[in-house]
C-alpha cells in the first residue's frame, strides 16, 4: 500500500495542509476544558459574571476559528484523496495496458476490473479519512494526556496507563479483523464473477433452463459472503463496548484519586472536572480512531491488491534503448526474408511441455503463408510470436533480419495488421473502429479497406454509413459483419505484414478468394499469414506450414505437401472425401455458404473492385 504513495506527488502540499489544519482545530479543542475549569474555579468560585461571559465568548471564538480551519482541511483532503485516486486509477489502467498476454492470462479480467473500480473507491475513502482523522485523533489523545500532566502529574499517570491498554484493544481487534476482511473481499470477487458469467452466458444458461440452478448457486455464494461479512463484523463490534469500559474505568479511577488530592488540598474541583473532560475527549477520539482504522484496514487491503497488480510487470524484455529501427513496409533489402523463424520455441508459463518446438521457416514480402493444423496444434501460438504477444523461450523470430525483440514494441505492432480469432469491436462508430491502426485515415482509405474486406456493401446500407454507432462488443452487428469489419480494421493503413488468425472461417469461399486476390493487388505487397483449418482456403498459398502438436511437420506448396506430408494429406482427404464420393470428376473443396451476399449490385464473378 505504502508504495502507492508515490502517486501523492503533486498533492504533497494539500496532503500536508489537510492534517495541519486539522491539528490546529484540534489544538483549539484541547484548550476548551482549561477554559471550562477556569469558569468553574474563577467564574463560579469567584462569582464573577464578567469573567464567565468573557470566557464563554472565548469558547465561541474558538469554535469559529475551528470551523474555518476544518473547512480548509476538508477541502484539501477531499482534493488530495480524489486527485490521488484518479492518478492511481489512471496509472493502473495504463499499467494493465503494458502487461503482456502471459500476465493477462494469469491475473484474469474480472480481478483487474475489480481493482479498477471497487478497490479504487475504497482507497479514495481511506485516503480521505486518513488525512482528516489519522493525525487528529492521536493528537487529541496525546494532547489530552499532556494537558493532564500540566494539571497534575499524579492524575496524569492514569492517562499513561489507560492509553496503552486502549491501544492494545484497538490494535488487537484491528489485527484480527484484517485477514477476515480479506476473506470477505475474496468472496465478493466470487459473487462478482458469477454475476458477470450469468450475463455473458445468458443464452446458454437459458437454453439449458439453468435459471433456477443459477439462482441457487448465487444464493450459496452470496450466503457465504454474508456469513463472512457477519463474522468479520462480529469482531469489530467488540471495539466500542471494550473501549467504553476501559475509558470509564479510567474516569472512575481519576475521580477517586482526584478526590484524595482535593481532600489534601493539592487540586481544585475545577481541575478534577477538567481532567474528567480530557478523559472523555479521549473516548470520543478513540472511537473515531477505531472506526477510522477499520476503514483504513479495508483501504490498505485494497491498496495492497492494487500494488500487487503494479508489481506484476510485463514478462516481455526490452533493450534499455531499443534500436529505433523502422520496419520497411515493402520487401527488405538484400533479399533478406521478411519474416524468419529460427529454431523458435515457446513454452507457456507453468506449462510442462513446449507449445511450439523448434520452428524454422522463412516468409517473403508478397507471399501468402498458410498455417494449417488441428486444434491445439499451435497455429495461433505460432502467429502470436510475430507481434510479440508472447516471447519465444528459445531460438528467435526475425523481421527483416532483426530479432523482433530489438524493435520498439509499438513500431513492431503498428507495422502488422492483425485479424484476431474473436471478432470484437469497440463501442463507438464504424469509423472509430476502423481507425484503430491509423488514427488519421481518410474516409477514402476506410472505404477501400471495407471494399477489400467485403464489408462495403452493408456499411453503405447503414443510415449513418461510417458514423453508424457500434455498441459495446459490436453486439449490434451479426457475427459475419463483425468478422468483415475486423478484417477491414486490419487493412487500414496498408501494413507490410498481415495476420489472419483463423478469422476467415466465417467468410464464404468466394469472399475468401476475392480477399486473397485483393491482398495480391495491395501496393505494398504485404507478407500475409493466414491461419485456417480449411485446405481450400490455403491451397493457393505460396507456402503452407503444417503444424502438428507444436511441431512443424511440413512446409511447401499444396502440391508438394500432398506428396510429402502425411498429416497434410490426411487433412486434405478429410475435407474432400465427400466430393470424391460423389465422383463428380476433380475434387471439389467444400465451400462455406455462410456469407452469401445475395442482394446488391456486387458481382461476385468479377471478384473485387479495387
Amino acid at each position: 500500500m505504502f508504495k502507492l504513495l508515490r502517486f501523492m506527488k503533486g498533492y504533497r502540499k494539500q496532503a500536508l495542509l489537510a492534517p495541519l489544519f486539522k491539528l490546529l482545530e484540534a489544538l483549539l479543542e484541547l484548550l476548551v476544558p482549561l477554559v471550562v475549569a477556569a469558569i468553574i474555579d474563577k467564574g463560579i468560585g469567584g462569582s464573577s459574571k464578567g469573567y464567565t461571559i468573557r470566557m464563554s465568548l472565548l469558547l465561541v471564538l474558538f469554535a469559529m476559528i475551528g470551523l474555518g480551519f476544518s473547512v480548509l482541511a476538508q477541502y484539501f483532503s477531499a482534493k488530495t484523496a480524489v486527485g490521488f485516486t484518479a492518478k492511481v486509477r489512471h496509472s493502473l489502467f495504463a499499467h494493465i495496458q503494458s502487461l503482456s498476454y502471459t500476465e493477462l492470462d494469469r491475473l484474469g479480467t474480472s480481478t483487474l476490473i475489480t481493482r479498477l473500480t471497487n478497490d479504487m473507491n475504497q482507497i479514495q475513502n481511506g485516503v480521505n479519512l486518513t488525512l482528516r482523522l489519522f493525525l487528529r485523533s492521536p493528537f487529541i489523545v496525546f494532547g489530552a494526556m499532556i494537558m493532564a500532566f500540566t494539571i497534575d502529574t499524579k492524575s496524569a499517570m492514569i492517562f499513561v496507563l489507560v492509553i496503552p491498554v486502549l491501544s492494545v484493544v484497538v490494535f488487537g481487534i484491528m489485527l484480527i479483523s484484517i485477514p477476515l476482511y480479506r476473506r470477505v473481499q475474496l468472496r465478493l470477487d466470487r459473487v462478482l464473477s458469477l454475476t458477470r458469467q450469468n450475463l455473458t452466458g445468458v443464452r446458454v444458461l437459458r437454453a439449458f433452463c439453468k435459471e433456477e440452478e443459477q439462482k441457487a448457486l448465487f444464493a450459496q455464494k452470496n450466503g457465504a459472503l454474508m456469513k463472512d461479512q457477519k463474522r468479520s463484523a462480529k469482531i469489530s463490534a467488540l471495539m466500542n463496548p471494550l473501549t467504553y469500559i476501559i475509558i470509564n474505568a479510567g474516569i472512575i479511577a481519576l475521580i477517586y484519586s482526584g478526590a484524595l488530592r482535593v481532600d489534601k488540598g493539592i487540586l481544585t474541583q475545577g481541575a478534577v472536572v477538567a481532567l474528567y473532560n480530557y478523559m472523555s475527549q479521549i473516548l470520543v477520539e478513540l472511537v473515531k480512531l477505531a472506526n477510522l482504522i477499520i476503514n483504513i484496514t479495508k483501504s490498505i487491503a485494497c491498496g495492497n491488491r492494487v500494488q500487487a497488480v503494479f508489481e506484476t510487470t510485463s514478462s516481455l524484455t526490452f533493450d534499455e534503448i531499443p534500436a529505433i529501427r523502422e520496419i520497411p513496409v515493402k520487401a527488405c533489402k538484400n533479399g533478406v526474408p521478411y519474416v524468419e523463424f529460427d529454431h523458435a520455441t515457446l513454452r507457456y508459463q507453468n506449462a510442462a511441455d513446449d507449445m511450439l518446438h523448434d520452428l524454422c521457416f522463412t516468409a517473403r514480402s508478397g507471399e501468402i503463408i498458410g498455417v494449417i493444423g488441428g486444434t491445439g496444434s499451435g497455429k495461433s501460438s505460432l502467429v502470436n510470436l510475430i507481434p510479440r504477444f508472447y516471447d519465444v523461450t528459445g531460438g528467435s523470430v526475425r523481421i527483416c533480419g532483426n530479432d523482433v525483440r530489438e524493435y520498439p514494441l509499438t513500431t513492431l505492432r503498428e507495422s502488422i495488421g492483425i485479424v484476431p480469432q474473436k471478432a470484437v469491436l469497440f463501442a463507438g462508430t464504424i469509423r472509430s473502429n476502423l481507425r484503430f491502426r491509423k488514427s488519421d485515415a481518410t474516409d477514402e482509405e476506410l472505404w477501400t479497406a471495407l471494399r477489400l474486406a467485403q464489408a462495403e456493401e452493408f456499411v453503405r446500407k447503414l443510415p449513418d454509413g461510417l458514423d453508424a454507432p457500434v455498441s459495446q462488443g459490436g453486439k449490434n452487428f451479426s457475427g459475419g459483419q463483425r468478422q468483415r469489419l475486423t478484417i477491414a480494421r486490419a487493412l487500414v493503413g496498408n501494413p507490410g505484414l498481415l495476420i489472419l488468425d483463423d478469422s476467415a472461417s466465417a467468410l464464404d469461399y468466394a469472399t475468401d478468394a476475392a480477399l486473397r486476390r485483393a491482398l495480391a493487388t495491395l501496393p505494398q505487397k504485404p507478407c500475409c499469414f493466414i491461419v485456417s483449418q480449411r485446405t481450400a482456403s490455403l491451397m493457393h498459398a505460396d507456402k503452407i506450414l503444417v503444424m502438428d502438436d507444436g511441431v512443424l511437420v511440413g512446409q511447401g506448396t499444396h502440391e508438394e505437401l500432398l506428396q510429402t506430408c502425411v498429416v497434410y494429406k490426411e487433412i486434405y482427404d478429410s475435407q474432400f472425401k465427400k466430393e470424391k464420393k460423389a465422383a463428380s470428376g476433380s475434387p471439389q473443396p467444400e465451400p462455406d455458404l455462410d456469407d452469401w451476399d445475395v442482394g446488391g449490385e456486387f458481382d461476385r464473378k468479377e471478384g473485387i473492385r479495387v
Binding site: 480524489v82 495496458q97 503494458s98 445468458v202 505492432r413 474473436k422
Partner: protein, 579 residues
C-alpha cells in the same frame, strides 16, 4: 423516486422486524446506561468540594454504581451492534439475491441492450455502498434519536432553564445538516452515474485487452479512459467535499451550544440552582446531546449516498421482466419435432423491420438448413424459436402448441443449442458437460464426450474431467471449447436441435467425424442448422434461403438447383469463385 426508494428499503427490512425491534430495545437500554453514567459521576464530583470537604463514603457508592452501569451498557451495546450487522448483511444479501433472480427473469432484449459492466456495478458496487450506508444508519440513527430524547429527559430533570438553551440552539445543527445533505444528494447521484459509465468502459477495454494491444491502442484507450476519469475526479471532488462539510458545520453549532451551556450553567451555579457536578454533567450532556445530531447528519449524507445507490439498484430491479408464464401454461411433452411458423413478423426496433410474414412448416425429424447473407435474420430465427425474443405478431407452434402458451422451460428443454460463440461456465469440465443432464452417469458423460471427440483432449488435461475452467474457459482453444459445447448437447439428446455455425472452428481433421456424430445426433430429430458447409446443406431435407428476413426459396438442394433460381445462381457463382 426518493420516497419510493425508502419504501422499497423498508419492505426489505420488514422480514427482520423482530430484530429491528430488539435492536431498538437494546439501543434504548444502551443509551439509558450511557446517559446515567455522567449523572453518577457528576454526583461523585459534588462530593469533592475542597480540601477536607470530601465525602468518601458517598463518593465510593456513586463510583461503584457507575462501574456497574458502564458494564451493563457495554454489554447491551455489543448485542445491539451484532443485531444491526445481522440485519444489514442479510438485507443486502437479500437484495443481491433478488437482483440475481431478476437477471434470470429479464428478457434478452434488456440484456442485449445494456452494458454488462453497468449491471455488474449496480449489483456489486452499488449494493456494497448501500450496505455501508445502511449499517451506519442503523448503528447511529437509532442510538442517535434515543440519545437525544434521553438526554432531553435527564436535562429537564437536572435544570429546565439550561435545557431550554440547549433545545433552542441545537435545531440549528439539524438545519445545517439537512441543508448540506439535500445539496449533496445530486452530487452523489452524478458520481454514481459517472462511476457506472467508467465501469462500462473498463469492462470493454480490459475485457478485450488482447485486441487493444494487438492494435497498439493502449494510448487511445488510455485517452478515452482519462476523459471519464477526469470527469469522475471533478464530480467526486464535489460530492466528497460538500458532504464532508457536514461535520465541521454541525460541530461549530455544537461548540456554540457548549459555550452557552457553560455560561448559563455557571450563572445557575452562582445562584445555587445547580451544583458544579451538575454543571459538568450538563456539559457532558451538551456534548452528548449534540453528538447524535452530528452523527445523524453524517448518517443522513451517508444514507443519501446509499439511497442514490439503492435507487440505481431498484431501477435495475424494476426493469420489466419477461412476461410471466400464463398460469395454465402447458408443459410440452412427447415432442416429436413438428414445428410450424405462421405469419410471423418480428423486429428488434419498430423503425427497422426485419422478419415479415414468415411461414414455415417443419415435420418431425426434418433437417432444415438456413442459408443466406449476413443480417438476413438467421440468428433472429433462433432467438424466436428459443423464445429469447417473442414474436411481434404471428405464432410459432411446436406439436400444435403455441409456444407462448407452453412453459419456457419445457420448450427449451426440447431444444439442443450450439451457438457460434462458445460459452462455458466457471467450474469443472464435468460440471459443464452435465449441464443439460445433471443426473447423467459418468459412463454417459464419457460416451457423449467420445461422440463429440472431446474425450481424448479432456483426458490429456491435468485433472481430466475434473479440470477447473475459469470464466469462459480461457485455458482451452476455441476448437476445444466448441467440442465441449457439442458434447454438452450430445449428452442431452433433445428432440430438436439448433446449431449456429457450430462446426466453424473445429479442427478439420476431426470435423468430419464430428459432422458424422452430428448426423447421428440429428437422426430422427428436427434440426435447424445455420449452415456453413456445403455437406450440411446438401444433406438437409429442406434448405431455407433467407434474405432480408424472408424465406425467398425453399426446397432440397437438388430441387433448388433444378428450379434454377436464386440459390442455383449463387451456388454456381460460389463454385466459380472457388475454382
Amino acid at each position: 423516486m426518493k420516497k419510493g426508494t425508502w419504501k422499497r428499503v423498508l419492505t426489505y427490512l420488514g422480514k427482520y422486524r423482530i430484530f429491528l425491534f430488539l435492536s431498538l430495545v437494546f439501543a434504548a437500554a444502551s443509551v439509558a446506561c450511557t446517559l446515567y453514567v455522567p449523572i453518577l459521576i457528576g454526583r461523585g464530583i459534588d462530593q469533592i468540594i475542597a480540601a477536607g470537604e470530601v465525602n468518601f463514603d458517598a463518593l465510593k457508592n456513586y463510583l461503584l454504581s457507575a462501574a456497574i452501569v458502564v458494564g451493563v451498557g457495554a454489554l447491551v451495546q455489543w448485542i445491539m451492534t451484532t443485531i444491526n450487522n445481522k440485519i444489514t448483511y442479510e438485507v443486502v444479501g437479500d437484495i443481491r439475491r433478488d437482483a440475481m433472480n431478476h437477471i434470470q427473469e429479464l428478457p434478452l432484449s434488456y440484456l442485449d441492450s445494456h452494458a454488462y459492466g453497468d449491471i455488474v456495478s449496480r449489483i456489486i458496487a452499488d449494493v456494497d455502498q448501500f450496505a455501508d450506508g445502511l449499517l451506519m444508519g442503523f448503528t447511529n440513527l437509532f442510538t442517535g434519536v434515543i440519545t437525544i430524547l434521553g438526554t432531553l429527559a435527564f436535562m429537564v430533570y437536572l435544570n429546565a432553564g439550561i435545557t431550554l438553551v440547549v433545545v433552542l440552539l441545537t435545531p440549528l445543527s439539524l438545519f445545517v445538516a439537512k441543508f448540506i445533505a439535500s445539496h449533496t444528494y445530486s452530487f452523489f447521484k452524478k458520481q454514481s452515474a459517472t462511476r457506472g459509465e467508467q465501469t462500462a468502459v473498463i469492462e470493454e477495454i480490459i475485457g478485450n485487452q488482447r485486441i487493444i494491444q494487438a492494435f497498439s491502442q493502449e494510448d487511445e484507450s488510455l485517452e478515452q479512459f482519462d476523459e471519464i476519469n477526469e470527469r469522475l475526479e471533478a464530480c467526486s471532488l464535489q460530492a466528497t467535499f460538500y458532504s464532508s462539510l457536514t461535520n465541521p458545520c454541525t460541530r461549530f453549532v455544537n461548540s456554540t451550544v457548549y459555550a452557552a451551556v457553560a455560561l448559563t450553567g455557571a450563572f445557575a451555579a452562582m445562584t445555587g440552582a445547580i451544583t458544579v457536578g451538575g454543571l459538568s454533567c450538563f456539559l457532558s450532556y451538551a456534548g452528548q446531546y449534540a453528538k447524535p445530531f452530528n452523527e445523524i447528519s453524517g448518517v443522513i449524507t451517508e444514507l443519501q449516498n446509499a439511497l442514490a445507490c439503492a435507487a440505481r439498484m431498484f431501477e435495475f430491479l424494476d426493469s420489466e421482466p419477461q412476461p410471466e408464464e400464463p398460469a395454465d401454461a402447458y408443459t410440452l411433452q412427447d415432442v416429436k419435432g413438428n414445428v410450424s411458423i405462421n405469419d410471423v413478423c418480428f423486429s428488434y426496433t419498430p423503425e427497422r423491420k426485419l422478419i415479415e410474414h414468415l411461414n414455415l412448416q417443419v415435420n418431425a425429424g426434418q433437417r432444415i438448413a438456413i442459408v443466406g447473407p449476413t443480417g438476413c435474420g438467421k440468428t433472429t430465427l433462433i432467438n424466436l424459436l428459443m423464445r429469447f425474443y417473442d414474436t411481434v405478431s404471428g405464432s410459432i407452434l411446436v406439436e400444435g402448441q403455441e409456444i407462448r402458451r407452453v412453459t419456457r422451460a419445457s420448450l427449451r428443454q426440447n431444444y439442443g443449442m450450439v451457438l457460434q460463440e462458445t460459452w462455458l461456465m466457471e467450474g469443472t469440465i464435468r460440471q459443464n458437460l452435465i449441464m443439460g443432464k445433471p443426473n447423467a452417469t459418468r459412463e454417459e458423460m464419457i460416451a457423449a464426450a467420445k461422440a463429440a471427440h472431446a474425450h481424448s483432449f479432456i483426458t490429456r488435461l491435468p485433472n481430466g474431467y475434473d479440470t477447473m475452467l475459469t470464466e469462459n474457459g480461457d485455458e482451452l482453444s476455441q476448437g476445444q471449447k466448441q467440442l465441449l459445447c457439442i458434447a454438452r448437447v450430445m449428452l442431452r439428446k433433445p428432440p430438436m436441435l439448433i446449431l449456429d455455425e457450430a462446426t466453424s472452428s473445429i479442427d478439420t481433421r476431426t470435423e468430419l467425424k464430428v459432422q458424422d456424430a452430428f448426423a447421428r445426433l440429428m437422426e430422427g430429430r428436427t434440426s435447424f442448422v445455420v449452415a456453413h458447409r456445403l455437406s450440411t446443406i446438401c444433406d438437409a431435407d429442406r434448405i431455407l434461403v433467407m434474405k432480408d428476413g424472408n424465406i425467398i426459396e425453399q426446397g432440397t438442394h437438388t430441387e433448388l438447383l433444378e428450379a434454377d433460381g436464386f440459390y442455383a445462381h449463387l451456388y454456381e457463382s460460389q463454385f466459380a469463385a472457388t475454382m
